[in-house]
């Protein structure tokens, strides 16, 4: 650098590209992101989250668990007990696994109880801890009714309460992530709850498809297909919102995970939809003359059942990878100061205009 251009006098040591972009009031609106912003030796400005991978698993398991509760309730109301029992077991087991994953992240069980010391709406983690606890209790009552036929009225109330709490359990984790200084998570705050809701619906349906005999799994298949479609749309909306800030979600390991998640969700959704339609065809035939219908369709039915289950597994894997992609992309965006500084500089420039 030479000469006395006062606008370019100072130069941060840590500047990688060697330019010192200064936002000027009244300048042109930039369509392309500017060069690397200045930083302190490339050090991050915010601290990277210290959450262990158990937390990523929890986002997936908790989401799936929550969305299984309305499935258990509606199946029970319709008398589809094969499906209702399996969904009820999923809610109880899922709540238990969720709690175990959180305890693992915290280090010891007593630390989870500290979460229930207070209730704070400004802390999504506090709200979530209470929701998970209440969900576990009510889902257990519902499952007791469904599996053992005890507590008919209390059990039904438990089922209804769990069905109402479940969707909150599935989505509050989006609020939790968005309420941080992590650039990717905070910027995605409007779309993230929908990504989590859709992915939870898809995963709950998909797991029920895997566990339930095909003749009783129609609801589960519809949930899996609708959820997978909604998940793809919600992720697209999130990508559009993030713009260039979505870079960490498209490159490196998170990028690979996100692409795999999209592919698995799409392929899985199609497989469940197509396999499920054949299955419905079989059910109709079986109804009007099951002996001949079954004889003709037996091979086809076996194949379609396999397609549905394989598709369901793909949807589950896609949902898990999507959560981990978002989790790790956030961490990557915390590590590089440009994702923190550049949007803030743009905000300052916009205010000065």
């Amino acid at each position: 650098m030479s000469g006395g251009d006062p606008a370019a006098v100072s130069q941060g040591q840590g500047t990688r590209s060697g330019v010192a972009p200064r936002e000027r009031a009244g300048g042109e609106r930039r369509m392309v992101p500017p060069g690397e912003p200045r930083s302190y030796y490339g050090q991050p400005i915010i601290a990277e989250p210290v959450w262990t991978p158990e937390v990523g698993w929890y986002f997936f398991v908790g989401g799936l668990t929550g969305a299984s509760a309305p499935l258990a309730l509606t199946a029970s109301l319709r008398g589809n007990h094969a499906l209702a029992r399996r969904a009820a077991v999923t809610t109880v087991a899922g709540a238990g696994i969720s709690a175990a994953l959180l305890v693992k992240d915290l280090g010891r069980p007593a630390r989870f109880l500290t979460m229930l010391r207070v209730f704070k709406v400004t802390s999504p983690m506090s709200v979530g801890s209470w929701v998970l606890s209440a969900f576990g209790a009510t889902a257990t009552l519902g499952a007791a009714r469904e599996l053992f036929g005890v507590l008919p009225r209390t059990g039904r109330a438990g089922q209804v309460a769990a069905a109402a709490l479940g969707p909150v359990l599935s989505t509050y984790t989006a609020t939790l992530l968005a309420t941080t200084a992590v650039p990717v998570w905070a910027e995605a705050r409007r779309e993230l709850p929908f990504v989590f809701a859709a992915s939870s619906l898809a995963a709950a349906g998909a797991l029920a498809c895997v566990l339930t005999p095909a003749a009783h799994a129609g609801t589960a298949r519809r949930m899996a297909v609708a959820g997978a479609g909604a998940e793809l749309v919600a992720v697209q909306a999130m990508d559009r919102r993030l713009g260039w800030l979505g870079e960490p979600l498209h490159q490196g390991r998170p990028g690979t995970m996100a692409r795999a998640a999209k592919g698995l969700t799409a392929v899985g959704g199609v497989a469940v939809a197509v396999g499920g339609r054949r299955r419905s065809g079989l059910a109709v035939r079986a109804g009007d003359g099951w002996r001949s219908g079954l004889a003709v369709r037996a091979g086809d039915g076996w194949r379609s059942g396999l397609a549905v289950r394989a598709g369901a597994v793909a949807i589950l894997a896609g949902g898990l990878l999507e959560r981990f992609a978002i989790f790790r992309a956030g961490t990557a965006s915390a590590r590089d100061p440009k994702y923190t500084v550049r949007p803030q500089r743009e905000r300052v420039a916009a205010r000065e205009r």
């Binding site: 650098m1 200045r38 400005i45 989250p49 969305a67 509606t74 915290l106 968005a178 609801t219 909604a230």
Partner: protein
């Protein structure tokens, strides 16, 4: 308590809001603040490393570094507006000399700044803490209660300054307490007492703000165009001002500070609304799919 904070839970025992004014223009990088803080608060050693970042071998704030002195080395062109350095004639002479020697026109500038927890007016760490471990003291400062912290780690990415961190050995979060124990005995915090140049000044926040305004005027009159106050008042930043504010000589990001920090919890109403709409859609969708169509 004054200075924008409204904490009404201390029932008359509250104190005027206190804080730090860190005037980086007189920081000499001695790190006495880092040492005094560690000594007084019994903060463990966190590695004796050579980072290669000028004289900064601390690296940044963390669970075991509650004060951090940043060292920024800059090659600074000698502009005519550079009033601190001498007359136009001297500049011309130096420019000529530089021409003859064939060197770039410019000289080394060393910026030093002692960073610390900002004790924000709108503190995201405090708001998102699920256990109530982080609290607002009667002095208007933000402190972690170690007997309550369960190490959930939520405050760590919530802080827009990257101040909080988990200590490896015990899994809990530790940060500057603004020497809560000393404040209760009418003592100033250890770092401020140790600072030999008064770069770190401790006091009632409204008084510190007046001092800072005067100091800024002096520096601007002396021809320091980059001088500005950072987080000194409630407006113009997303954290409602800070208990620890700074006089900086260059843009905040040069010191590793965010140029426009915001309180992450400020968007909570909007985010909760989106979440409840999404949860409602999930409930309606799953019930609709469950009750309509074939089994």
């Amino acid at each position: 308590m004054t200075a924008e904070l409204e904490v009404l839970t201390y029932g008359g025992t509250e104190h005027k809001r206190v804080g730090f004014f860190t005037d980086t223009s007189v920081c000499i990088g001695c790190k006495a603040c880092e040492v005094a803080c560690k000594e007084w608060n019994g903060v463990p050693e966190d590695g004796l490393n050579h980072t290669g970042m000028s004289m900064d071998n601390t690296g940044g704030l963390g669970a075991d570094s509650w004060r951090h002195v940043a060292f920024v080395e800059q090659r600074r062109a000698l502009g005519i507006e550079d009033g601190l350095q001498g007359s136009l004639v001297q500049h011309a002479a130096r420019a000529q000399l530089a021409d003859e020697v064939g060197e770039e026109l410019g000289e080394m500038r060393w910026l030093m700044s002692s960073d610390v927890c900002k004790h924000c007016t709108s503190a995201a760490c405090l708001e998102v803490c699920p256990t109530g471990s982080l609290f607002r003291t009667e002095f208007g400062t933000v402190v972690v209660q170690e007997d309550i912290c369960n190490g959930c780690g939520y405050c760590i990415p919530a802080c827009p300054f990257g101040v909080l961190d988990r200590r490896e050995e015990d899994g809990r979060v530790w940060k500057c307490t603004l020497c809560y124990d000393r404040l209760r005995d009418d003592q100033e915090p250890a770092c401020a007492q140790a600072c030999p140049t008064d770069s770190i000044q401790f006091g009632d926040l409204d008084e510190l703000r007046a001092v800072a305004d005067k100091r800024l005027e002096v520096l601007q009159a002396a021809g320091e165009p980059g001088a500005h106050l950072y987080l000194n008042d409630a407006d113009g930043n997303g954290v409602g001002g800070a208990g620890a504010f700074f006089l900086l000589l260059d843009e905040p990001e040069v010191y590793g500070l965010p140029p426009d920090p915001v309180d992450a919890a400020g968007d909570l109403p909007q985010t909760w609304r989106a979440t409840f709409i999404a949860a409602g859609a999930l409930l309606a969708g799953s019930v609709g799919l469950g009750l309509g169509g074939r089994e």
